[in-house]
């Protein structure tokens, strides 16, 4: 296939958290608001006057100082973020909108927080006088009580704080404006992503991963023109005559902001057609429907709880529906199998991966490749062998089924 015009530019934007577009937005006088988890509604951080940056620590392979603070037995992602923060890589942040949604990232964000208490020192990791960190509680359930609670949390710990510290307009009108912009990003990403549903997709999993990531880490108003142009370009992009892959897979699992991981999977003969993992588009690029007369904050709170497939949800129906959801995605994207990848030390996904590996195969007949990986993929040789074997097994299955 012909190279996408902006792919290299996008790749470059992913090399640093404080990338060119972030710098440009800061120069425009906008406030940079960091977050780590899908449960922190990015749309509220993209209100006029500020922009969201989902934190990553690209190329962080040796988080030594963070390991002193958080030990070697905590998720590499959280430690890498901590290391990057200690290196000064997040000093551009004006605020961190924190969630306690997993222990490791919660602890990372607590280190950023200036607590002003006698019992523990403030580290002032983010060297920015304006910086503050605010925590919101995210419910573990999807019910009316949870929606109301979460909406209140967002009002008090996100909107009020943004208004108090930076004078951000948090009126319903401003929120609607942000939702509109958010929905355009979603529409474009979905349009781009839908090409993965074709029999011979005109976009690779790697390319999509890169595009999805830039939409998370760059100011929306600055990345939108590039997304529009890419969507336009894809309308006429021709696939290779001969398929470059031997099977299609859904990539599901824990935090994954490393496009090279997707590239590794694809280099083994699989095409990643769906990205159901943290930082993926399945959850985060569903448009938010605001109805007239409805409280936009409540609608947003509900949207983020309803659309999430995080293994953090505890109710029985949710636990069971998550498996169904992956099976449905495999069907929708015409995938031949599922790769479930969990980051080492991620407790949620360690268990979820075990159960998915059994259930998806047993109840839905889906071939599953179950792997554990690091945040930055250094064990590529071992993983390559696993993926190659999985692709072969899917092919054999197809031959046996006469496909």
């Amino acid at each position: 296939m012909r190279d996408l015009k902006h792919l290299i530019y996008f790749e470059n934007l992913l090399q640093e958290a404080n990338n060119d577009l972030v710098k440009q937005a800061k120069a425009d006088g906008k406030r940079a608001i960091g977050y780590t988890c899908y449960f922190m509604p990015e749309v509220l951080l993209d209100l006029p006057g500020c922009f969201s940056v989902r934190l990553r620590a690209p190329r962080c392979t040796s988080p030594d100082i963070a390991t002193y603070y958080m030990s070697a037995r905590v998720c590499h992602y959280a430690r890498s973020l901590m290391e990057r923060a200690l290196e000064g890589g997040f000093n551009f942040l004006d605020a961190q909108m924190a969630t306690e949604t997993c222990t490791a990232t919660c602890r990372f964000q607590e280190h950023l927080e200036q607590k002003h208490i006698d019992s523990v020192k403030d580290m002032r990791i983010i060297d920015n006088d304006d910086f503050f960190c605010s925590f919101s509680d995210v419910p573990f359930k999807n019910n009316q009580i949870a929606y109301e609670h979460f909406a209140e949390q967002l009002r008090v710990h996100v909107l009020d704080e943004l208004n108090k510290h930076f004078g951000i307009d948090v009126s319903d009108e401003a929120i609607r404006q942000a939702v509109e912009q958010h929905n355009e990003v979603c529409r474009l990403i979905n349009e781009i992503g839908d090409y993965r549903k074709l029999d011979n997709p005109t976009i690779t999993g790697y390319e999509f991963h890169v595009i999805q990531l830039v939409s998370l880490v760059c100011p929306k108003y600055l990345i939108l023109p590039y997304l529009r142009e890419t969507a336009e370009e894809l309308k006429t992009r021709e696939p290779d005559l001969k398929k470059e892959f031997r099977c299609k897979v859904v990539l599901a699992g824990s935090e994954n902001d490393d496009p090279d991981f997707t590239k590794l999977v694809e280099s083994c003969g699989a095409r990643v057609v769906c990205d159901r993992y943290c930082y993926g588009a399945v959850e985060s690029r569903q448009p938010i429907e605001l109805k007239e007369g409805e409280d936009p904050v409540f609608t947003i709170a509900k949207h983020y709880l309803v659309t999430s497939n995080c293994p953090r949800f505890m109710p029985q129906d949710e636990m069971r529906a998550r498996k169904q959801r992956i099976a449905e995605l495999a069907k929708e994207y015409h995938a031949d199998g599922v790769i479930i990848a969990s980051n080492k030390f991620c407790e949620y996904w360690s268990y979820e991966r075990v159960i998915d590996t059994v259930i998806l195969k047993r109840d839905f007949g889906l071939p599953v490749c179950s792997i554990e990986k690091e945040y930055i993929n250094s064990a590529s040789g071992q993983l390559r062998t696993r993926f190659q074997a999985f692709v072969e097994s899917v092919e054999i299955k197809q031959i046996q089924e006469g496909k």
Binding site: Y68, Y69, M70, S71, R73, V74, C75, A78, E100, C102, T103, A104, C106, R107, F108, E110, H111, E113, K115, I117, S119, V120, K121, F135, D137, P139, F140, K141, N143, I145, A146, H149, E152, Q153, V156, H157, P311, R312, M314, P315, Q316, M319, R320, K344, F345, E347, Y348, S350, Y351, E352, R353, V354, I355, T357, V358, I359, S370, E372
Partner: protein
Amino acid sequence: MDIKKALKDFWYGKPHTAEEGGRRLGDLHEDKTHLYKHREWRGFKDTMYYFYMIWLYNYIFMVKDVMVMGGLVNFAKGVWRYRWVGQTYLPVLHWFDRGLEGMRGEAMKASAWHYRAMVSTTIRQFQRMFAADTRLHGGKQNDLYKHTIAHNETVWGGVFYPWDGEIQNVPLEMIPYFVTCHVNSHTVLNYIDAVQSIGLPGDPCPMCQAESGIFVLDDVPDYAPAVVTCNEACDASVSTSTLQDWFFDKPLFSLPMPMIFDDPLVKKYCMREIEELWKFVEQQYGIPFSWEKLVKKLEQQNELQRFEWEKWEVAGKSDYYPINGVAQALYRIYQTQYGDWEIWHVTDKKVRKILEKCVSKKINSFPQTRHRVIAWSCAPLYYSNWCTWAYNCWGLNVIINMDSLMFDMTIRTDSYEHTLEDMAQYHMWAPMRRMAVGGMRHMFELWEYMEKFNCDMVAMYDQLQCKGVQGLHGLFEDEFRDRNIHAFWVPHALPDSRTVSRAEIRRLINDYMTTVMHEEPLDPSLLDFDDSMTW
């Protein structure tokens, strides 16, 4: 032979320290199994007391309790069917011996009463499980089954007070996993291996692994029609519920609790979820919520808390506290987590008498104390009696521990709103949540409690697979240095004795005491011994 000394040793027991001739407790045991070569001579009075009032008394009650609380037939069936009870029932008195080694006088008596209460409550729970278990009764759902509710061990039993006498709550894992690994550390290893055999990596919290493994091996009685789960204490607990649901397949209510709970809005949310739980119980069992029962039980629980505060007062302000570190920790966590029960009141009454005697007669039960220690974070379950060893060997007296301090409150019963508010608070201050996995500021309440209990040293538990505590490791190091506090780390993996052995824990403490503190052991025979095969 010095007849006078021999007679003195016979009557009072040998003195503690090496300088005084020493009792050399390390020589009492066989290598590896740590079985007694001969029992400890504590002096005439204490040896007789130990034999009759601890050893024999508890054996008798272990039979009597079984007979009264469910019968011998159910017990025999349970022992035959479930590995965890069969492997742990007989070593119970060895568990007493480990925790009470070297104790004399009032400390021995008061600590033993705590143990007795825990044994009784344990028997009551597993006998209820067996009596209601469909597996032991040909698949039949008997009346006991229909009036029992199962829940994660980390759900505070107090949320079921409104059905006192009508529905019995029995935690799913408290006996099969938690209690058993204190008594026999080998039992739980099998469950950890089982869950890893289906693909779970070795790094999630081993407590949760063990709790899941029991289900993988189908070693949980089927004793209740509904289940209540909880995300306490951590991410792995949430995930454990997912796995349990998969195996159990019963109506399930998940009771969430926040990690950072200093926000009044969060408390409001928690209150509403407790009410949802009550609705769930009413729906599942068809028995209405009783406010009167709730109030009655809460007031009884408050009585227990008030006595605990009195105990803390003595522990913090004097040398006359007669309860050793392990008895204090285990009894308190058992009592507060399980909730009000008659045996706690009976025990507290006996302990109060001993406590009052110690205070009025100025009896120092731990006369060889060199350092008053506070133990912080989660303790090693397979070596909860390390503090008994530490006192005997080094004079490190663990005055108080984190597990005891979490539920530092009574619950108001003057109005529904106040009660619910306090219950939410209590629920949110659950074990490990407040001071291990919870918000950072609570982890560092350590300094405050150190002062309150007049401690000069910290035993910092280092649960290697607890992401909540590991995530703050460096800050603790920094604070210890900045505050010039003597602290030694106790690495462990909760129930899994293979990760860090008991001998390794002792070695690390020995190293700290010799290289940092430059101290000599009180009893050198305890410095190094092999107990790798013991229960």
